[in-house]
Symmetry: C2
């Protein structure tokens, strides 16, 4: 049995996976803050999901962990996971010591990309697909690219960082220091900026207001769709991936998100025979609600890389 753990800013999820790649159990709980609590949460969910499976840690062949921030997947070191209060932590070694199981650590978006790819393969949707990009729409925007079933890491581990490609010289200042990055239009933080509200979920509030006919909401929503469409187009034009799977917190917006992004892509293709020939809208999917992509991918990472 393998365990995959997704350490997120608010919750930590764990999945247990049979040797045939099927999920058996899932648990989740609030993430602790700071090195010690992040480790304790991860250890706890690993023990819980093992117990729920009716097994012991001796039956666990590997643990994979997905976590935000800069991850050295060779050493298991995590840095700059600011939202978790983790600045420089040898996470892999710490968990491995506590549980006596080999641990691999991976950036959460890269892990989710592998999880999304696994889902496509399991459901038969990956038949005929050679390549896939996973586009994570959360507080920020980032992507992971899977070619021939393998994660594209790149020379510095930034392959898929399309969120920080500037697409508007007159756009907003990005947290990365540049101006008009894709992330300033197509992300949770972008919606929060463009649609100021007291609602707990600004994106849901925006979509509801737009659905109710609010002209400003419709305008903001349309800019958001165009930003996501731009990210999809960049992934297709740069890497020519067969499929772009949208995941992350905002993917819970579901069909209205998919329809809006595809409508923007279709409108773009209408003025460009070149784009039209690529059928980019036809390549977009949204991750099913609740599918624990990062935890699933993390479980597989533990296997793929030893």
């Amino acid at each position: 049995m393998r365990i995959g753990i997704d350490i997120g800013g608010t919750k930590t999820a764990a999945v247990a996976m049979d040797t045939d790649g099927r999920l058996s159990e899932q648990v989740r709980q609030p993430t602790g803050f700071g090195d010690a609590d992040v480790i304790a949460t991860a250890v706890d969910v690993a023990q819980q999901v093992t117990a729920l499976s009716g097994r012991s840690l001796a039956d666990v062949s590997s643990i994979g962990i997905g976590i935000p921030g800069a991850v050295d997947s060779v050493t298991g070191r995590v840095s700059h996971a600011v939202n978790l209060g983790v600045h420089d932590l040898r996470l892999g070694a710490a968990i491995s010591e506590r549980l006596g199981v080999s641990v691999r650590v991976e950036n959460d978006v890269k892990a989710a990309a592998m999880g999304a790819h696994h889902l496509l393969a399991e459901t038969g949707m990956a038949n005929g697909f050679e390549s896939m990009a996973y586009l994570n729409l959360g507080t920020g925007l980032a992507a992971g690219i899977v070619l021939g079933g393998r994660l594209l890491r790149g020379g510095h581990g930034v392959a898929g960082e399309v969120g920080h490609i500037p697409i508007d010289p007159n756009g907003a200042l990005c947290s990365c220091g540049q101006v008009g990055c894709v992330e300033t239009i197509a992300s949770g933080s972008a919606i929060a900026r463009m649609w100021p509200t007291d609602a707990a979920l600004p994106a849901v509030d925006l979509f509801e207001a737009a659905g109710a006919g609010d002209p400003i909401a419709i305008d903001v929503q349309s800019r958001f769709f165009e930003g996501v469409a731009a990210a999809v187009r960049i992934l297709v034009l740069a890497a020519d991936v067969d499929v772009v799977v949208i995941g992350g917190g905002l993917s819970a917006l579901g069909t209205p998100l998919l329809d809006g992004v595809c409508a923007s892509l279709t409108a773009g293709a209408r003025v460009s025979p070149f784009l039209s020939s690529l059928d980019i809208a036809g390549r977009v999917r949204v991750l099913p609600l609740g599918f624990p992509a990062a935890a699933v991918g993390a479980a597989l990472t533990g296997v793929d890389n030893g």
Copy 2:
């Protein structure tokens, strides 16, 4: 012996390559216009380069051809090579029939990408590099991506088509139908638009005027550098390639081009710790003047794919 042929808009070049991958002979001549003349030119340079090598066609194990336009590398069919007057031609079969040698056809930018990679490998520059992008600055802008020594083709053969990623909503109309594409700022056609002149080589004229202190030329040149820098940044952020090699007609601008692009990348990194950590300027190279990258890559294509 292998032969590689680069059919360009103005000239057709051919190289002969030993079995150890070294160039032995090169020839070039003006390209004919239309199906029959394009075929005749290619047949002629193949025969010439074979004769110069002191060999016969019986010694030629394969012929690879690089040509602009949409190329089906499986069937050897070429379409939309507008500048050559070729609209739909089974080029591979036609040449193979005339010369009795197996022929593979590849898009010229993809072929040049393989040629540039071969050069890096031959010169020892590719040591430690896992991935490379070849950025072709010609009339238009396009790139080819080489990962682990293999060309990234993508699902629809458009991997590396970063020239048609829009980066300025208020930019110029692109030939592809979109607005503000990278190609409208960073290409020969962009320079011709931004720097109207009767000079035979607008880019050289622009660089000379900028070098002489003309403020308008300096401004146009700076926009061009920023556009090329944007293309480089897109290739690094999307695919995280270790090296970006600039080739194509404009690469003859040499050191001033390299320096200008790197200065723009460095200025961009100054405002962004994220970009700064990636050392993008340190990844840029310019193809040596006169190196027949597309012909060399075409010769290798003939081998790689059977």
